[in-house]
């Protein structure tokens, strides 16, 4: 449901199709872009920039997951493993072969995408719950292979990668990497929003709503599902590659089943849209930061819990928040956001 502000009428096809329709929305968007690309990097310190980079990378990954979960209606429990594929391929090309980021990055994204394609092939015969289980199995197998990969993947010690450079200009600091991440995040958001309006995007939604009905309407369900998994894994690979080159070293501990579940949780909290993915990521990442600040205080008050306060309460709150959203607001924050905006848009003549 997309409301236009009261009294705004579309007179041309372009106006009807516009993503950003009114001047006020253009102003809001510009203000947001100015804040993200000018104001925030000028004012924020390294810690805040680090948090922002993590949010940006996670947004790319979660938007990818949203293509499977929100649009195509399948469930993937292996998204962190696809991220790991991207991260490791990127780091291995950088470490073993000395490839630059700009070549390793697309190769990593593509490899991750092909891995997703491979995993989704059983989707020809199975659906729903069983696809979720297939991705869970894929997670275990991928992570096991990385862990037992010997010198190729670095095993337990992990894999290091080189700094990103553009023609001799190094992007090593937080501030410079922040711009790289944000540009890619913005591109991912823009591409995905437009993807939902293409034939492919509508095929995804048709498969989500009822795959048998979609098949009768001439959509190749198998191809659509495989394509969704491919695209989603490409996003995961992009995010993984970015993460690998940002941190300089990656280990298997950064891509656990927990991380996949966190990403699914972000989608539950945000809702099933691109906006929902962004809101869910921001909500959970901010919650994470709050717990990082508050939990040590709990540890001081109850000394017996000090050692585990952060890790334990993080999981506890995460689970509780998801259950609360499932029970009380299953359509997520983005739905609530749209409801709130529609009040302003329809004012003063609600119809």
């Amino acid at each position: 449901m997309k409301y236009k502000p009261c009294g705004t009428f579309d007179q041309t096809y372009e106006q009807d199709n516009a993503l950003v329709r009114t001047r006020f929305r253009w102003a809001m968007l510009s203000a947001l872009l100015v804040f993200i690309f000018v104001l925030f990097p000028c004012l924020a310190g390294d810690y805040l920039l680090d948090v922002a980079i993590n949010i940006g990378i996670t947004i790319i990954a979660v938007i990818g997951l949203q293509i499977i979960v929100g649009f195509t209606g399948q469930i993937s429990l292996g998204h962190a493993a696809f991220m790991a594929v991207g991260a490791y391929v990127s780091a291995m090309l950088s470490f073993h072969l000395n490839w630059s980021f700009w070549i390793a990055f697309p190769v990593a994204a593509l490899t991750s995408g092909l891995m997703g394609l491979l995993v989704s092939i059983p989707a020809l015969r199975i659906r729903g719950f069983y696809i979720a289980v297939t991705t869970l199995v894929a997670h275990y197998i991928i992570m096991w292979s990385i862990l037992h990969g010997g010198w190729v993947t670095g095993g337990l010690t992990g894999m290091s990668s080189h700094e990103v450079t553009i023609g001799g200009f190094s992007i090593g600091t937080e501030r410079r990497y922040y711009f790289l991440t944000m540009v890619l995040t913005a591109a991912a958001i823009f591409l995905t929003v437009n993807l939902t309006r293409t034939k492919i995007g509508r095929a995804f939604v048709a498969v989500r709503d009822n795959d048998l009905a979609a098949e009768f309407m001439g959509i190749n369900v198998f191809k659509t599902k495989v394509l969704a998994f491919f695209l989603s894994s490409v996003y995961a690979g992009v995010a993984g590659s970015l993460l690998a080159h940002y941190q300089g070293i990656i280990t298997v501990e950064q891509f656990t089943l927990m991380d996949s579940i966190w990403m699914l949780g972000m989608i539950i909290i945000g809702g099933h849209s691109v906006l929902g993915a962004i809101m869910g990521v921001c909500f959970l990442k901010v919650l994470q930061q709050i717990i990082l600040i508050v939990a040590p205080t709990i540890g001081q008050l109850v000394p017996s819990l000090a050692g585990s306060a952060v890790a334990g309460s993080m999981q506890l709150f995460f689970g509780a928040v998801i259950i609360l959203f499932l029970v009380f607001e299953p359509r997520g924050l983005s739905h609530r956001w749209r409801l709130t905006w529609s009040i302003f848009d329809l004012w003063p003549f609600p119809y």
Partner: protein, 295 residues
């Protein structure tokens, strides 16, 4: 050849445990069509609560067990009333995420309250090794297999010979039909959760007394049960039994024959490879029902 037989027997003994864990997941799935991703967390939670009562609080066993039963009853009522009842009729995604999130809450509680390295439960059996021909059997794994078998049989008798078991079977067939026959479906759900959590506790305590309590292996035990259930078929108790033993044997054989080739760790991954093959060739499990849908 002896080595092979030894591995198969070890596998069957571990497989008994997997089968029991899988039974717990099947019970919940049969009655309420909720696939319990939180099973691993429940195994950890109940066994750590048991440890808390037994070891730091020094309670005798005749007091510990009733307290534990009360705890399990409260947890199962809360799960049903607060989480699953409001989610009735929601999408598959909600049901899956609800149990996963529930698992996270329990994981968080376990990590928060019982941090650090493993804990020891009092051993219920003195460890000796019996010889049967050329095959060695440790008394601990033998006893734990027997306990699992007894639990399995007791549940089957309860399920097939009592009136409440009949109500549970009726609910498994069709919720609306069961309700029209005067069965309180929500109560059946609570009881099946209770049985499932109690079984999780049995598995956790057995494993804890064998290897010591620590979060990862307990959680892993529950997660392997998921692989077993999907291999055997979601609704099938026989499938849980056969799947459990099959996965136990596959794991033991992998640890005996594949581990030396790849340098260890093969037994962690073999259940999932078996599962992947099963998903490709027999997606609804060995004994599951194939769903036929109409638009």
């Amino acid at each position: 050849m002896t080595f092979f037989i030894q591995l198969v027997i070890n596998g069957i003994l571990t497989g008994g445990m997997y089968a029991l864990m899988a039974l717990a997941v099947v019970i919940v799935y049969k009655s309420s069509s909720v696939f319990n991703f939180a099973h691993g967390s429940l195994v950890a939670l109940v066994s750590f609560v048991f440890w808390q009562l037994m070891v730091p609080w020094q309670m005798p066993i005749w007091l510990t067990l009733p307290l534990l039963i009360v705890f399990i009853a409260i947890v199962s009522i809360l799960i049903q009333r607060l989480i699953l009842q409001p989610l009735t009729g929601q999408s598959l995604m909600s049901a899956i995420m609800a149990t996963i999130a529930l698992g996270e809450v329990f994981n968080g509680a376990v990590v928060l309250f019982w941090p650090g390295p493993g804990r020891l439960l009092p051993k219920f059996v003195t460890s000796t090794t019996h010889r049967l021909g050329a095959v060695h059997l440790s008394s601990e794994s033998l006893v734990s297999f027997l306990v699992c078998a007894v639990c399995f049989i007791v549940f089957l008798i309860f399920f097939h010979r009592t009136k409440f078991g009949l109500a549970m079977r009726g609910t498994a067939e069709d919720h609306t039909l069961a309700q029209s026959e005067g069965i309180r479906v929500s109560r059946v759900f609570v009881v099946s959760w209770f049985v499932a959590i109690a079984i999780a506790g049995v598995g956790g305590v057995l494993m804890g007394s064998l290897f010591g309590l620590s979060f990862e292996p307990l959680h892993g035990l529950g997660m392997k049960a998921l692989a077993v259930v999907i291999l055997g078929g979601l609704e099938s108790i026989l499938g849980a039994l056969i799947g459990g033993i099959a996965i136990g044997v596959a794991e033991a054989l992998a640890s005996g024959f594949v581990d030396p080739l790849v340098g260890g760790g093969a037994s962690d991954i073999v259940p999932y490879i078996v599962l992947l093959v099963a998903l490709i060739f027999k997606p609804y499990g060995l004994f599951g029902y194939e769903r036929i849908e109409r638009v």
